[in-house]
């Protein structure tokens, strides 16, 4: 008889998650750190679908503050990650709305760096401009379309997972993505027409 192998099934993962939430809820710093480390990269990717890179850190912090605030009421019906993504989407949408209301400078200051600082020190100007153009196009989308696009493009979530995060049906998520892409083709037409086919 060979050694017994144990598999961490879905039930034990859910139980482990529930235990982690309970510890974080009681103020256990290590438990909170574990939650942040597990989800911060995903949250950072999501919020970059709503604000520019320079603001993403502040917004990500706001997301996790809301998560901490919501821990006492988290009932575990959804997976923790699903709930955190939902919070990130809501905080991101609010941040995008605030950003749209603020007056923006007509042009970059002369001493603005051409290369992005932070995790992408080698990012070139073209890539930055392309992301900026994509963010402007996302700004023009209705919130419900934008939420689906960001989760799909920035996080690579399946439509089923997107539906769970946003509390909608899967066909609705697919339909919103298709309609969003139609609008994006129009908004990004100048960039897309200059694309060179490989």
């Amino acid at each position: 008889m060979g050694p017994a192998t144990t598999h961490a099934g879905p039930e034990s993962a859910t139980e482990a998650e529930a235990a982690l939430v309970a510890r974080a809820r009681s103020g256990d710093r290590a438990a909170l750190e574990a939650i942040v480390r597990a989800h911060a990269p995903a949250v950072q990717a999501i919020v970059q679908g709503y604000v520019e890179r320079g603001e993403a850190d502040d917004v990500a912090q706001e997301v996790f503050l809301r998560v901490v605030q919501g821990l006492p009421g988290f009932d575990g019906r959804a997976r923790l990650g699903t709930w955190i993504f939902r919070v990130a989407t809501n905080v991101g949408l609010n941040a995008a709305r605030s950003r749209r209301r603020k007056p923006r400078p007509a042009s970059l200051p002369e001493d603005a760096p051409l290369v992005a600082a932070g995790p992408e020190p080698g990012a070139n100007l073209d890539a930055r401009e392309e992301r900026a153009a994509f963010l402007r196009a996302l700004d023009a989308l209705p919130d419900e379309f934008r939420a689906v696009v960001v989760l799909r493009v920035h996080r690579g979530l399946s439509f089923e997972a997107i539906a769970e995060v946003l509390g909608i049906a899967r066909p609705t998520a697919e339909s919103r993505m298709a309609r969003a892409k139609d609008r994006l083709r129009g908004l990004l037409a100048p960039r897309l027409s200059s694309e060179v086919r490989p």
Binding site: L32, V36, P41, A45, F64, P72
Partner: protein, 125 residues
């Protein structure tokens, strides 16, 4: 991937950011976390109290309304007495009007009542 839009979408995907957790944790000091947890507990308690309070208030209003209706229709009831008195206060002074016209007070009362006897001839003044 032949769709230009799909190619663009693939390019704008953010790069993995391994430093994100450290930067977030740097801004989540113990005091900030404790404040957020306390605010969350308060919000949860307030939400729990909202429904029972609302139901109690509604039950109280319904009880008060029902009592008022019952009292108003009960003969000799507290409110009924008040209503009758109010009606009397606001009733036209039929007696005074008919007396001014030359009829006696008794005649005036008889006229005011249905199926009353025919009034007597006005008293000569």
């Amino acid at each position: 991937m032949t769709d230009p839009l799909d190619r663009l979408l693939a390019r704008v995907v953010p790069e993995p950011d391994d430093g994100a957790a450290d930067r977030v944790l740097a801004g989540l000091g113990p005091e900030r976390v404790a404040d957020a947890l306390a605010a969350g507990e308060l919000e949860r308690a307030a939400r729990r109290a909202l429904w029972p309070s609302g139901l109690l208030a509604l039950a109280g209003l319904l009880t008060l309304g029902g009592w008022a209706v019952v009292q108003a229709h009960r003969p000799g009831g507290h409110l009924a007495g008040h209503l009758h008195h109010a009606k009397q206060l606001h009733a036209p002074s039929e007696d005074h009007t008919l007396v001014l016209a030359g009829a006696s007070v008794r005649d005036a009362r008889r006229l005011a009542l249905p199926f009353a006897a025919a009034p007597s001839a006005p008293e000569k003044r």
